[in-house]
């Protein structure tokens, strides 16, 4: 009995060791359109305009060669900070650059709203660009909890 118990406990400890050592390669293949469609179905979507790879460079200093997939929606209303950004970079180094580009853009938008429209700034104050593997994503919306649950489902 004692031998059986010792064996079981040793196996448990061994299993935990291997689990802890397992590296995080990020989420498996994700279609960013699927993520956005699920978000759009779950929240009230404002009047968005979609920025394609051609448009995005007029807003964000991102190199389109770094992008494998992109789904960027920003509010058509200049006085709304709402936006949903989901990108896949071509590799890890590109993901770092894409994250930096969108972080600079997000901070710039926060700066412009901070003393201009406090209610919009409050929506985005704690929002940060997130990265999981080669995926870079974030959202500014009053329904952020719902969106984050969906993001976690795909990217965590």
């Amino acid at each position: 009995m004692k031998k059986i118990l010792c064996t079981v406990l040793a196996l448990t400890a061994l299993l935990c060791c291997f689990s802890s050592c397992d590296g995080n390669d990020g989420p498996k293949e994700v279609n960013v359109n699927d993520v956005y469609n699920e978000v759009a179905a779950a929240i009230t979507v404002p009047d968005f305009i979609e920025l394609t790879e051609t448009d995005i460079v007029d807003y964000v200093a991102v190199n389109t060669a770094d992008l494998k997939q992109i789904k960027v929606q920003i509010s058509a209303e200049a006085i709304s900070a709402d936006q949903i950004v989901i990108c896949e970079a071509v590799d890890a180094a590109a993901a770092d650059r894409v994250e930096a580009a969108f972080t600079a853009y997000l901070n710039s938008v926060k700066n412009s709203f901070k003393n201009y429209l406090p209610s919009e700034f409050a929506k985005m104050e704690d929002i940060e660009v997130q990265k999981s593997g080669n995926y870079v994503y974030y959202a500014v919306t009053s329904e952020i909890d719902t969106v984050n649950d969906i993001f976690d489902k795909y990217f965590k």
Partner: protein, 361 residues
């Protein structure tokens, strides 16, 4: 006795095994939590507007005195403040509540004569090699243009945009290193507009700024700042054409105690004269945005304040395409005919408190 010792020894062994296993499980849990650790928060530069800073009097003797950073005083739109008229909109209009004067529907004839007159309609190529510089109203035009270009890639030519919500003429002058800076990102770097314009290589700039100045600065301060902005743009791009667009109107319910249509009209009238004095064009886009009483037409406003619906941008663009400024070649011919000025001199009306500056060199 011997059996008891054996039982105790076995129990201790088992408990030790359990504790060791628990330690490994605990390490596993901690490792998983560390893997999903949140990234460090990004630092955002703080913004501290100066309080009661004095505006330097540039025309007090030495006109060559360089202007350093002008203080920027930001008054946010009246959200929930005592100036917010929306709380009383069912009782009194802002005009009635604050005793505001009525706006003008049409500009006085002598002033209107100094604006860009009606021309035959141009195509979108008119906007090639140009940039729009403005605030959230211009940002709305940028977003509208982005959307239109997804189905018509040549919509508005290849016009570019420098647009920041809450941007004022005063804001354009703030150094990029200042905590007050809200300048646009250009290639990922916070950059002043004249430097962006120089790097873009455009030939023409359409400036639509003032809604975030009129409620804060006097006419003289506003025009002084505008003069500095224009000079900086010309220093960066000496042969650029500059067209000033009228400050756009507010709806009847969107007026504020310190920002209302009659005041915007006064500033626009002064801006027309300023444009002529400073070798700029004035394109009076507010003409097509106003209703018969001089307010921003309700149907053209997206927020019952100052921001515009797509239909308003259609009217704005159509107006500009019917009120074109000359090409550089045509401008050169005009200057030759008018002794160096780009306008036929119909006289400059007196503008209280504004001493103006020299025209084209």
């Amino acid at each position: 006795m011997k059996n008891n010792k054996k039982i105790i020894r076995n129990t201790v062994s088992v408990l030790s095994m359990i504790i060791i296993a628990a330690i490994f499980v605990g390490c596993f849990i901690i490792t998983e939590q560390l893997r999903t650790k949140e990234p460090p928060k990004q630092q955002i530069s703080s913004y501290t507007p100066p309080i009661n800073a004095e505006i330097p009097d540039l025309f007090n003797g030495d006109e060559d005195t360089p202007v350093e950073e002008l203080p920027v005083i930001v008054v946010p739109p009246g959200e929930g403040t005592e100036d917010d008229p929306t709380e009383n909109v069912e009782e009194l209009l802002p005009r009635e509540k604050y005793g505001l004067p009525y706006p003008q529907k049409d500009r006085p004839e002598d002033i209107q004569a100094m604006t860009v007159q009606h021309t035959s309609k141009s195509g979108y190529e008119y906007f090639d090699n140009s940039v729009f510089l403005g605030d959230s109203v211009t940002l709305g035009l940028k977003n509208y243009t982005t959307k239109k270009r997804q189905t018509d890639s040549y919509f508005l030519g290849n016009a570019k945009f420098i647009a920041v919500g809450s941007y004022s003429v005063a804001d354009t002058l703030v150094p990029v290193t200042s905590a007050n800076s809200i300048h646009s990102l250009y290639n990922g770097v916070v950059t002043q507009p004249q430097d962006i314009i120089a790097d873009m290589g455009v030939k023409r700039v359409f400036i639509c700024l003032g809604l975030n100045d009129v409620g804060i600065y006097t006419q003289n301060e506003y025009l002084t700042n505008y003069s500095i902005l224009i000079n900086r743009i010309r220093q960066a791009v000496p042969d650029i054409q500059i067209a000033i667009l009228s400050v756009t109107p507010l709806t009847v319910e969107g007026e504020r105690k310190i920002l209302y249509n009659a005041k915007i009209d006064e500033y626009n009238n002064a801006l027309v004269a300023f444009a002529q004095e400073n070798g700029c064009y004035f394109i009076d886009i507010s003409t097509v945005l106003k209703d018969e009483l001089g307010y921003l037409t309700d149907e053209l406003s997206s927020d019952n304040y100052c921001h515009l619906e797509p239909e308003a941008y259609d009217a704005w663009i159509d107006y500009m395409m019917h009120h074109c400024i000359p090409t550089p070649e045509e401008e050169a011919a005009l200057k030759e005919a008018n002794g160096g000025a780009i306008h036929i001199d119909k006289g400059v009306p007196e503008v209280e408190g504004f001493e103006g500056s020299a025209g084209l060199p």
